[in-house]
Every structure is written in structure tokens, then in C-alpha cells.
């Protein structure tokens, strides 16, 4: 039963990933650093953004402001470069978490649809980005970001950092009470409330995680790239939502785990790496991502319907 469940949870994403991965392997000759690095290197930016958005989806909300958060955080971090690499990133992340928590609090308190509110913060933060600077900010001492890129085999410090965050969030979601409450609030909010779950706290934590992830992603990317631009990361939202959903997180909330998000990021990263490797332009990746996204939510919708048609079996089966 356990294996069956694990397969249902991760199977589809795993299959897609293996297909994408084997397409990539056609180009490279074997699983080696050469093929691993381009995939893993997506974790600091796309991965963290997907993690943030994914957690809000699991909590039954949706954070559309992640790309703006990342852009502003990048600007903020570069602005504070005089503090040094680690303090600048840490302060930015703290700001991101605080901003996210505030956003979550307002959404939960006012009972606003999170989509509406985060569209507002999306516009607002974009403006704040331009307020910090109209033009791209440059990292003056380019060596400042070098530690992030230090490689140990296929893993760099920034990749390790992002994987650490993944592990931390994963453990938090699965093993702690507030983490489980996020699942409960995402699955069925009314039931959760009746059962005494602190839904407001769950929503606040969701958005705090999302804000923190966005801030970390933006600031690390800014230091790695040596500059931050208020208009950057325009395609990040698409990538983040796609990664979470392609990996098997369900749009309806309350379902999916960090492992799903990891799988989703791997799929998208393999696709992007494969396309880039064949010399295809960037827009083809977007096209494929869009198609994948549609395909995944169609399958989910059909699966939901099939499950509804056979309610008897659901009752007879062991409770999930």
C-alpha cells in the first residue's frame, strides 16, 4: 500500500523526468558532472522560487508576487554589498521573510483571495524595484560573489545552500505541527478550522517561506550574476508554478511534498538544458514549459473526475 501510494504521488513526475533526462543523455555520454551541473544549477533560482510558490499552493493559496520579490531582493542585496556577501544575503532574506509574513497576515486577516492581493504586491514591488534604482545595479567587487560559485564536483555552494533550504522546508512541512497545519489548511480549510487548526498562522508561515525563498533566490542570483535589474526574472513565475505543478503538487491544495517540487525542477531544468544544448532559442523552452503545464493540469483534472466517478472504491480503500 505504501509503495502504491508513493508511486501515485511521485510516479507521473518521475516518468516525465526520466524521459526528459534520457533526451538530455542522448546529447551527453553518460551521467556525469557535465550533465548534472546544468540541471542542479537551476536550484538556486528556479528551484527556490518553485519551493516558495509550491508551499503556498500546498497551503491552498497562490503567491504570484514571487518574481517581483526576487527582483527587489536582488536590488536590495546589491545595494547592501558593502556589508559583505553573507550579511547582505541574510538581511535581504530576513526582509523577504518579514514581507512575506506581513502579506500572509493581511491575506488571512482580511480573507482576501491571495491571487488578488499578490497581484497587488507584484505591481507594488516592481515599482519599489525601480525606486531603488532605475537602472541595473552592479556588484562593484565581482569577486564578492565568487564563493557562491565555488564548485565541489557538480555542486556549488549556492546549489548546496538551496538544497539545504529544500531539506529544511521539507522537514518542517512533514515533521512539525505548524507544517502539518499547512497541509490541513490547504486540503479543506473549513474542516481544518473545525479541527482546531490555526489557519491564520499556517497562511502566514506559507507566505513567510515564500517570501524568504524569493529573497534568497533573488539575492544569490544577483551576486552570482554580478548585477541586479528591476525588470529581471520576468519568466520566473511561469517556471516556478510549472515546476511545482509538473512535479505533482496539486493546484487544489493540501497535496504534494518538497520531493515533488524537486522532481518538477529537475524536469524543467532538464528540458531547458536539453533545448539549450541543441542550440534552440530561449522561447522554445517557454513554449515547451507552457505545453507541459497544460498537459499536467489536464491530467490532474481528468484524474480528479475519474476519482469522483468511483466513490465506492475510495471508501473501501484504506484511508489516505
Amino acid at each position: 500500500m505504501r509503495i502504491n501510494r508513493a508511486f501515485r504521488t511521485y510516479g507521473p513526475a518521475l516518468v516525465v523526468f526520466l524521459v526528459a533526462w534520457s533526451l538530455l543523455l542522448v546529447r551527453y555520454t553518460g551521467i556525469n558532472q557535465g550533465a548534472m551541473y546544468p540541471v542542479l544549477n537551476n536550484f538556486p533560482l528556479l528551484g527556490l522560487a518553485a519551493l516558495g510558490v509550491g508551499v503556498t499552493i500546498i497551503g491552498g493559496e497562490l503567491d504570484l508576487s514571487i518574481a517581483s520579490v526576487a527582483a527587489v531582493s536582488g536590488m536590495l542585496a546589491v545595494k547592501m554589498q558593502a556589508l559583505g556577501l553573507v550579511p547582505a544575503i541574510a538581511v535581504t532574506c530576513a526582509a523577504g521573510i518579514a514581507m512575506g509574513a506581513l502579506q500572509g497576515y493581511l491575506i488571512a486577516r482580511l480573507k482576501i483571495a491571495s491571487v488578488v492581493f499578490t497581484v497587488g504586491t507584484l505591481v507594488f514591488l516592481q515599482g519599489v524595484g525601480y525606486l531603488i534604482s532605475e537602472h541595473a545595479l552592479l556588484v562593484r567587487n565581482l569577486a564578492l560573489g565568487d564563493p557562491l560559485n565555488r564548485r565541489f564536483g557538480p555542486i556549488s555552494i549556492s546549489i548546496a545552500l538551496s538544497l539545504l533550504v529544500f531539506a529544511g522546508v521539507g522537514i518542517f512541512l512533514v515533521l512539525t505541527r505548524p507544517g502539518r497545519e499547512i497541509y490541513a489548511s490547504g486540503g479543506d480549510r473549513r474542516e481544518a478550522m473545525t479541527a482546531g487548526v490555526n489557519v491564520r498562522r499556517a497562511v502566514v508561515i506559507c507566505f513567510a517561506i515564500s517570501g524568504g525563498c524569493g529573497a534568497l533566490a533573488g539575492s544569490v542570483a544577483a551576486f552570482e550574476g554580478g548585477s541586479a535589474d528591476p525588470s529581471s526574472f520576468s519568466a520566473l513565475l511561469l517556471g516556478a508554478v510549472s515546476a511545482a505543478l509538473v512535479g505533482g503538487v496539486r493546484m487544489s491544495g493540501g497535496y504534494g511534498s518538497v520531493i515533488n517540487i524537486v522532481l518538477g525542477v529537475c524536469v524543467l531544468a532538464s528540458v531547458a538544458a536539453g533545448m539549450a544544448n541543441q542550440g534552440r532559442p530561449d522561447y522554445v523552452t517557454q513554449l515547451v514549459t507552457g505545453c507541459l503545464l497544460i498537459a499536467v493540469i489536464s491530467v490532474e483534472s481528468v484524474a480528479m473526475r475519474v476519482r469522483k466517478v468511483r466513490p465506492a472504491r475510495k471508501i473501501l480503500a484504506a484511508p489516505d
Binding site: V115, F124, V128, Y283, V284, G290, L293
Partner: protein, 301 residues
């Protein structure tokens, strides 16, 4: 809401020399035209309970590129506009059917936007598509009673969509679908058909907006009007249409779009950067959404 607009105009007029001149007001109206048309025609989607489309920018871009390509190939511009309208309506039907099959609107339109962007980039190879000498600049230069032609299109679309939503059976059914889709279903209304109809209205509006924007500039490419999606959504929300569906009006979205352009115009006339204007726009949006929400929950119970 109209009071807000009047207040903005009055405060703006008294504090800003040159704000109330006819030239400036005309510029505001002209700037509102494209965003306004998109916002107004997207309102039925929101009213039908399907949030908003995240693909408006790409849809309008596609309409503009198509129009430019057809006019450039020597088509009569009316014929080209009709063809664009037809093509986009088909797209609207597809999007509407996908969404009404039970897929999340936001994710679907996000994906649709990416697919459209990818496809158009592939076809145009990222180049500009121009009219190649077939000018239709009359649309830019035509004035009637002192107002440029696109402004009349905005008025026209607002009136048509408002009448459609408030006085026709179709419109009332779309609103009921948004207010209570279970009740609509029980009373024999096809929720799918209504959702699809809302998407077709939005697509038709996007077609018109694309054609207008393209005729003003004379060319289009894949990077055409990138901020349109967010601005149109902002206009709908500032206008006060309820995202839960069932309440709102296209007219309010038009006013919302006007308020945004008036404020942005004011800020720029005061020498503030576009970034600052955008931050203020976002702040206003957040405030309006929060205040409306408080009112809504106050009167609802």
C-alpha cells in the same frame, strides 16, 4: 468610484499646472484606450467567477503581430481586422473550453501566455513585423470632436460590453454563473458555455486592442506591451469588480483604467519617475482591494 475619479481630477487640477488642459486630458484618454479596452473586455471573465486572464499581454501582442503581418502582406485593413478577430475568437473558445473543463484559470492562462509567446517568437524570429508602407495612420490622426479615434473605440467597447452584461440574457447568465455556479447549473444554464462566452468576449476585446495599438505604432513584435496584463488586472480590481464573481461591471473597469492613467500622468507631471508611479499604483491597488474586501464582508453578513 466616480467620486474618486472626480477627486483625483480636482486635486490634480488644482495642484498641477497643465493637468487640466485639453491636450493633457486627451493624452490621458489616449493612453487609457488600449488598457481600458482590455480591462473592460476581461471583466466578464472576472464576473463569471474565473478570476482574470494572465495572458492578456500575449494575446494582444499576438493580435497586433497578426494584424501587422496581414496588412503588410497587402490585405485590406478591415479584412485584416476581421481575420484577427476571428482568429482570436477561436483562441478564446479554446481557452474557455479548457478552463471550463475544470482547469485552473490562472495556470491555464499562464501556460497559454507562454505558448503564445513561444509560438509567435518562433514565427517572427523575434523581428519587428511592420505594415511595409501600407499606412493606416488615419486611425492615429483621426479626430472627432477633439478626441482621437481609439478613445471612441474605448467608449464603444465599454458601452457594448456593459449592455451585453447588464441587459442581455447571455450577460445575466454569465453573472449568475459567477455568483453561484451551482444555482446556475440547476436552473439549466450551461456553466461551460458561459465561461467560454466570457473568454470569447475577452479575446474579441484583445483583438481590437491589438489592432488599435498596432495601427498607432505601425509595427509589432513579441515584446509588444509587456505590462498590459498587470495593468488590465489592476484596472479591473481598482474598478471594484469582485474576484469571487457575480458582482461588478465593465464600466467600473473602464473608470479604474482611467484612474490609473490619471494618477500615473499626475505623478509624471510632478517629475516623479515611472518606477515611483508604479509603486504608487501598486499601493493604491492593495489599498482598494483591502478596503473593498472589508466593505464586502461587512455588508455580506
Amino acid at each position: 468610484l466616480a467620486l474618486v475619479l472626480v477627486a483625483v481630477t480636482a486635486v490634480g487640477g488644482s495642484l498641477t499646472p497643465g493637468f487640466l488642459t485639453s491636450n493633457n486630458l486627451r493624452a490621458i484618454l489616449l493612453n487609457t484606450a488600449v488598457t481600458g479596452i482590455v480591462a473592460v473586455s476581461m471583466t466578464p471573465i472576472t464576473m463569471s467567477g474565473n478570476f482574470v486572464s494572465l495572458a492578456s499581454s500575449q494575446t494582444v501582442m499576438m493580435a497586433a503581430v497578426l494584424f501587422a503581418a496581414m496588412v503588410g502582406a497587402g490585405w485590406n485593413y478591415l479584412l485584416a481586422a476581421a481575420a484577427v478577430l476571428l482568429a482570436l475568437s477561436v483562441l478564446g473558445v479554446i481557452e474557455g473550453m479548457v478552463v471550463s473543463a475544470g482547469l485552473n484559470t490562472l495556470v491555464t492562462t499562464l501556460a497559454a501566455g507562454a505558448i503564445i509567446f513561444g509560438a509567435v517568437s518562433g514565427l517572427t524570429r523575434g523581428n519587428d513585423v511592420t505594415f511595409r508602407g501600407h499606412t493606416i495612420s488615419w486611425i492615429r490622426s483621426a479626430h472627432f470632436l477633439g478626441l482621437p479615434a481609439p478613445v471612441y473605440f474605448l467608449f464603444g467597447v465599454t458601452i457594448i460590453v456593459s449592455l451585453l452584461m447588464h441587459t442581455t440574457v447571455l450577460g445575466r447568465r454569465i453573472v449568475l454563473t459567477g455568483a453561484n455556479s451551482a444555482a446556475a447549473h440547476i436552473s439549466g444554464i450551461s456553466v461551460r458555455a458561459m465561461t467560454t462566452a466570457a473568454f470569447v468576449i475577452a479575446a474579441a476585446g484583445a483583438a481590437l486592442a491589438g489592432v488599435l495599438a498596432c495601427s498607432q505604432v505601425g509595427a509589432a513584435n513579441v515584446q509588444f506591451l509587456p505590462t498590459l496584463t498587470v495593468n488590465a488586472i489592476a484596472a479591473v480590481l481598482i474598478g471594484g469588480t469582485s474576484v469571487a464573481g457575480g458582482r461588478g461591471s465593465p464600466l467600473r473597469s473602464a473608470v479604474g483604467a482611467l484612474i490609473i492613467s490619471a494618477i500615473v500622468n499626475l505623478m509624471i507631471m510632478h517629475g516623479l519617475s515611472t518606477g515611483r508611479a508604479e509603486a504608487v499604483e501598486g499601493a493604491i491597488l492593495l489599498a482598494v482591494v483591502a478596503v473593498l474586501r472589508v466593505f464586502e464582508s461587512g455588508s455580506g453578513r
